[in-house]
Assembly symmetry: C2
Homo-oligomer: 191 residues x 2
């Protein structure tokens, strides 16, 4: 029996990385907002590899991750095969401090589908204090605007990314700064 | 011997709540950025009750806190006396998942003073997974702009606060939404 409280999943939206499996057995990772309403869990998933995978095999793992590189890489490109490990033939992220495996029930929409998530397994590998780091948080925000920028190529998204980059420069550590360089590279902006 | 890694204090700036003690023995709490450069820790502290207290008694505790209400209340007003507890006659926050107690060495500046912090004690009460919550993170950002707004009363800060409030509305839980109502009340904005 999985108690989602133990995984820190609170009311509102938790930003996690979903791992899913393609019909060909290829693992995929993508950042997804995990919505909690009371004790029910949902995700709103746009047409994507993640959605295709869930339709073909209705399972997903929510990986709770603190590495900014993983958020940016999985948002804007693919993460390396060696970052995954398989638990009962399903992929999770090897270095995730925790993950929850779900059975999925989806309601297909035109652009976005609602997926209800029922926890069936989970693991907590590392419990640690995590003081607020505005630099890390700014990377998450920047990565969200970056996913919009690569689709719409609008200046307003780039301005948001630059704004968050200024917070990263001020408050982030080396890992966050390195992640922003990667982000700009992945969206094709020379810095 | 305190290992700051155990407290999740990474390179860059961690946002924590400093507790200090006044000459009259009154505890104070204020949000402060804890800078880590290599293995040295600093805080840049504006002229404030926190700085006065450190000058009178050169100690401070960095409380690692996840409750958005504590950030907003300590940023914009005073937190209740019953929120503190005393450890060897020095105040810390009772419900903090962790705290580090420091000896302080300050270099007084005109507006801002640099305080070097040497850990002398610490406690970890709760280790938990903390998935990213954009709503919680947005409250932290809003509280920073709110402290500027109450000083300068400029529209641009209010616009930032409104922007972050839109993220809280979308991604936050009940606690974050309640905290934003409190924030607007404390800065004198009717919603």
């Amino acid at each position: 029996m999985i108690n989602i409280e133990d995984f820190g999943i609170r009311e509102g939206i938790s930003e996690v990385i979903f791992t899913t499996l393609s019909p060909d057995g290829i693992p995929n990772a993508a950042p997804i907002g995990l919505h909690r309403k009371g004790n029910r869990l949902f995700a709103r998933i746009y047409n994507s590899k993640t959605l295709d995978n869930i339709i073909s095999k209705p399972m997903a793992a929510a990986n709770i991750v603190y590495d900014p590189v993983l958020f940016v890489k999985s948002a804007l490109s693919d993460i390396e095969a060696e970052r995954f490990e398989f638990v009962d033939v399903f992929p999770v992220l090897k270095d995730a401090p925790g993950w929850i495996l779900f059975n999925c029930k989806y309601k297909k929409g035109k652009n976005v589908s609602v997926v209800e998530l029922k926890p069936i397994n989970g693991k907590i590998a590392i419990r640690k204090l995590q003081p607020v780091n505005r630099g890390f948080n700014a990377v998450i925000e920047a990565s969200i605007h970056a996913t919009r920028y690569v689709v719409f190529r609008q200046q307003k998204y780039l301005e948001r990314i630059e704004y968050y980059n200024s917070i990263v420069k001020k408050c982030g550590g080396a890992r966050e700064k390195e992640t922003m360089r990667l982000l700009f590279e992945l969206i094709g902006i020379m810095k």
